[in-house]
């Protein structure tokens, strides 16, 4: 099954993927808040997060993860949007967004515009 592999180490935080997604899904429109991929930042590191399922209740398992000497907020890396985290919800219509791999066969526009190698389409 095809999936998008994310290499956090390579992400430069240019957010070109957000615009690529928005231009592909909403005609002639560039707006990161209407994209199904968002780049989060923590401690000068960048994490592309791809929209997953919408949940209508916040979970209670909020955790912090320690990698090396830094602490990361798992809530930021979580793919779901929930009442606590208002991401991946289209502002004008309130419709939750979810990644659709830009159609069948999958050819995600974010992967095409990602120049740092952080996003990669793999089939396994």
């Amino acid at each position: 099954m095809a999936r998008i592999k994310i290499d956090h180490d390579k992400c430069t935080g240019c957010r070109h993927c957000e615009i690529a997604c928005s231009l592909n899904h909403v005609q002639n429109t560039a707006n990161p808040r209407r994209a199904r991929i968002r780049v989060m930042r923590d401690h000068n590191r960048y994490y592309p997060v791809i929209a997953g399922p919408f949940v209508d209740a916040a979970c209670t398992s909020k955790v912090f993860v320690e990698i090396g000497d830094l602490q990361y907020d798992m809530c930021a890396v979580c793919r779901a949007s929930c009442p606590e985290k208002p991401y991946f919800i289209e502002a004008e219509t309130d419709i939750p967004l979810k990644c659709d791999f830009c159609g069948i066969p999958p050819s995600p526009s974010c992967v095409r515009w990602c120049n740092s190698g952080a996003l990669e389409l793999v089939d396994d």
Partner: protein, 606 residues
Amino acid sequence: MNGWIGRCLRVNLTEGKHSIEKIDPGLMERFLGGRGLGVKIFSDEVDPQTDPLAPDNKLIFISGPLVGTGALTGASCNVITKSSLTGTLACAKMRGHFGAELKFAGFDMVIIEGRAEAPVILSIIDNKVKLVPALEYWGRTTVDTESLFKKNLGNQWISRETFLAAIGPAGERLLPLANIVNDRFLSVGCAGIGAVMGSKNLKALAVKGQHSLQVADGNRFVQVVNSLINKLNSSPLTSQSMSQWGTAFLVGLCYQKGMLPQNNFRGGTLSLKNIGTEALNSAFRLRSRACFACPVACIKKTDVKHPTFEGRGMVPTYLAIGSLGVNCGVSDLSIIGTANMLCAEMGLDPVATGGTLATAMELVEQKALTPEELKIDLRFGNGEAMLDAIRLMATKGGHGKRLGQGGKALADSFERPETFMGVKGLPLAPFDPRAIQGLGLHFATSNYGPNHLYGNTFIDELLNAHEILDPWDIKGKPQLVKDYQDTTAVMDSLGLCSWPLMGLKFKNYVPMVNSCLGTSHNTDDLFLMGERIWNLERMFNMKAGFSDADDCLPDRFINEPIEEGPGVGQVSRITEMLPEYYRLRGWSDTGEPLPETLRTLGLENS
């Protein structure tokens, strides 16, 4: 409207009021936007003779029409005002994500007028424009200000998407060397504007929003951007050198051609071993960071490991290594990196600060200024003293007060103006104009003082990216300088970064501009607009009291040949090139735009 939002926010700090205005579409057509439109509006509204620190001076933040649309490297926001260091027009290029976020917040342009009674932060978050009292932020460094402001927002999801442009302690104290710092560490690269923001009691600008930007022909636009990314990847300069080391890769090249200034442009014997790219690799663990929509990612971040400065920061760029490093005789990369970070935290401009320190060091060497008087052992090569001096400068502490007024004021106060290496009051960017003639001509004639980013002639002269030119020869250089100055004016106005010109020709951008904005420009149209913008800026400066007498380089470059190194024996031949440059520009012998030139450009009424 394609690319544009078409709205302008005007904030009057004296009255604490704001209004939202529509931008005249006719002006957008003639001046493109960004730098061009900003300069037009500024020169219409502000008297050129205004004191830069008076409430009458205005501060314009403006993003170009391509910013935020996903156009390749469309990220830059220009800040336009009258500079308190040079007295000319100042146009800073803000990199990072601030410019794009300003568009998403729903405004192309923010005009700031008047002066607030007490410190404020202008916050434009989700369509709410507010002036937040900023007493608790006053006195804090730029980094602290950003962290505290985001913490005070109270919601991590809002604060994650908010971007700030702030001044540090230097700007609050109205130092002419101060500038604005955005996205935590990115200096906007233009001295003299931090003090203007400080004089308005405006500590910072915060933006966030969710407006959409329209693109004229989305499908075509996506294709064009794709092909431009591929083109950039096939050029070794952008895909390898810039991506690996950022602009710092220029250090070795400039050193080999004798362009890297040492010890206040007097030459020296520093070894490349300590400052080249290999040294950079071993001193820092490099991590790439990109501005909005940039596939090159030339900003390098790292952990600064140094006992005097513990923290995370930026790897020094070419400008920092040149100005704060070798030109001050310092070749320790960790000290240069620390100095660069200190400048960003304090809100000082690294180039202007480095130039001022180099002047001070030469004055010490000439025994005009004594270390006892300064209470710092400031001399060429003493890195620790340089760090102390920067701290004192920013806080106007002790004897640093004198240094903070800028190199020209310092040299003049000792009646030794020959020790100041700069034009129009701004210290030179670290390129020796004797060894690169075209850039020398640009430094002399630039409307914004000697900054290489307003006319990147070194792309052809040094890097030979499109044409193979001899940097020491003057043949064809006036035309080259004019072409690059106009190109940069257009690219700034559109909101594009000019570094990718290393890998792309300007004509490659034209399809992207047209598919995004729905226009049918060709290269010549756009060049004409660039020329129009350049002439408009020139006219503002002339009304502010500048003339052809200011189009010169310091005497050292004309009279004293380079003494050693690869460029030995070279002097600047600026006097031979200047008449030809004036002729190409359509200016009189005294550098004034001729009436017929202005008529061709449609500027006769301004």
